[in-house]
Amino acid sequence: MLNAERKRTILLLIPIVLVLVGYVLYPSIETLIESFKKNGAFSLQNYGDFFGSKAASNLEALWNSVYISLLSVFFSALIGIPLAYIFNRYDFPGRQFFSNIAIMPIVLPSLVGVMAFMFLYGEAGLVPNALKDLFHLSEVPFSIGGISGILLVHAYTMYPYFYMTTSSALNNIDPSLEEAAYNLGSSRLSVFWKVTFPLLTPGLVAASLLVFMVSMASFSAPYLLAGGFRVLSLQIYFSKTNGDLDMAATQSVILSVVSIAFLLFMRWFQNRKDYRMASKGIGAHRSEVSNPLLKWSMVSLGIIAMIVLLLPHVTLLVLSLVPEGAWTWQTYPQAFSFENFRLLFEDTNIWDPVRNSLIMAAIACGGVFVFGIITSYALVKRTFIGKNLLDILVMIPWALPATVVGMNLILAFNEPSAFSFGKVLVGTFWILPLAYFVRFIPLVVRSTNAVLEQMDDSIEEAAQNLGAKWFYTFRRVVLPYIMPGVLSGSLLAFVQAVGEFPTSVLLYTLGNRPISIEIMNQLRMFNLGQAAAYGMIQVGLIAIVLFVSYKFFGVKSENTL
């Protein structure tokens, strides 16, 4: 159309493309190239090794990853769907409260969550040992570890995906649809199977795919709980620590292929026509439970669920009060104090990781804040050739497991390149903020897109019509409009970066070790209290951010995932 418009679009696209190519595409390609190299020459040897009999462990790990992920989907759905149905369709005392508690697992960063589960249900955990003492058993009655541990943690941390999609789908179903079916003579059960369930399917499929991808990428749970059990994301880490970069690259490529295949499948599925309808004035309708027996069993179910769900948080809080040396070989902690928190501010060794995490997360957060605004604006409000491609490029870091993102960066920046200004980044401070930045691009872009798509084009045109130039319009009209979305996305990126473990463990140096690495160190030294105190800092930060986002930007925590 007009040259000035086109010039502006191109000016916007230049930095976006540079960053995406430099820090997303180029590292992925480096990994791909590396996977085809053996001793510096091109070969298919790595893939031969992966699938061949020589390294059966790789194939086993792939298989384990897939099968754990499938089971995770199954168990998450098994918990999430009925819980959502009960809490959204029946009214009983405390319903609102229980349904708020139901999404509490999302405030636990994965490493901290796993740690809490270990404290609770591990071999030396509080619950098995309490049972042992209570019933005077000679052995702990059960403990988690290996597959069962991973699955339990996955089900706990991932069922909210099902819970939230089912809840929102249920609330969006026009009650008159179900009423129409009753009116036509259907029974309760057949209404559920014939009307409600089909309307829920699109959301459920999306949640299943999401949980599958997240479990494939899961790192913290297997890292702490797997024992001898192999999964692919962990194998990458082992290959890297053994110095076998070629194999790590190959494993990364294979894990990426699986994940990206799922991402594409998900996009395809979501773009398919679904049967959601826009009907006006829908309100969730809940049947009041009048049968007292049923009512009180629902309340008790709510209470039990609440205890189970909050136990990890409570454990973390309690253990963070256990000073060093007060819980090593003993069954129960011996003393409580604020020692761990005091040390945070007095011992620089203890404070350093917190400072590192905050600084690095802040840098990454600033980066995604600016980059997210520009990218989202270009994607939503500008037309240009190759937009779809750009969109996919933006979403790649989301589809790639964190371990793979870490490997990509290692392989790209362990030698000087134009994108690192001719420096080797691996082993420096900057590699970690960069990794966090790459990891959380999609999060900010998505949350900004959501707001920007709501903004009618005519708003910008109105400003122009009143005589405002493009930049003035952008600054005074567009920016203030999208700020809630950008800020909540960036804040969430910030707290997730503070808790980020998989990329940290691949890329940290002694100088910039973040909180999650220090948690591992403290666990290794059996200083469980200090580890829990670090965990509490992360939980506290997340809780504050979610609260602020909700209170001041009106963003529901559900929408930010």
């Binding site: 005519s458 122009q464 009143l466 203030p480």
Partner: protein, 365 residues
Amino acid sequence: MSTVNLSTITKRFGNVTAVKELDLKIKEGEFFTFLGPSGCGKTTTLRMIAGFYYPTEGKVKFNEKDMTTVPPEKRNTGMVFQNYALFPHMTVYENVAFGLKVRKTDKKETRSRVEDVLNKVRLGQYIDRQVSQLSGGQQQRVALARALVIEPDILLLDEPLSNLDARLRDEMRNEILRLQREYGITTIYVTHDQVEALTMSDRIAVFNFGECQQVGTPSEIYNKPVNDFVAAFIGETNLFSIKPDKEEEGTAVFQSADFDKSIYVDHTEENIASYAEGEELVMSIRPEAVRILKDSVDGNNVFKGKVSLVQFTGASVHTYIEMENGAQIRATDLNHGPSTYLKEGTSVSFQLPQNQIRVIPKAGE
């Protein structure tokens, strides 16, 4: 204030031609309306004047100054969008002051001008409200104030009343007219509501399929449509295909398959539109011009039929009459009480006054 001059403007989107070879001259201070069915290119034309689209061919001029490729922010037009496009994160004051701020008007003057215009649209006491807390009609007035306060050369309104209920719409029509007269701004108004167009406009342009069919005053458009599209689109009418037969001292005679006798029409410019040789012709007679006769009289254009339906609409009564060969005609009369309603099935005569018939060519397509 300025004139707007569109010369042979064409706008294509891919292979869709939204506006085709449009020629328009809008005078200074005029209230000019674009009228036409959905998708006929009204918004597209308006957006070319505002500068959001650039014509594929042709020129846009304000006061003889070529504006064809001038960006929107340099045109000094004030636009009221169909959805108002108020800035949701700003108060009423901030919304209205936006254009003045861009123009670097000093603070004191901005304040007084904003207050002034808000009083004019009767929103003085809402100055510090958030725009989301206003009713639809109030939001529309803020949009209007925001466009007016910059003292635009041209005011552009794209269906600004379509979201309002009937009462409020009536009120707002008067409000807009009052303000337009007060400021004397050249105004272009887009609507597909014909009553709105007829009551408000100095002149109207009727569009169909991206082509301007006719430009004229409301009375010209209604009484002297240039083709059957305009005749049928504006107001109600009866249309019949006719063929020229002969001329008799000041009267043209036509034949129609729908009528058993010849039709006589005064041969004046009022009654017979210009048409080319061989064009298909149509005659249009407004229902209020059809005269139902109590007693059978002799004379030109008197026909017989049976009443097939009587519709009572309040102020007026529609009577549908079916002729022997099946053609139907509608007559509308003011309501004179139940005793005057005809019974269905009654045989009646009716006359088509020969100075009220309009002979027009069929529109292309």
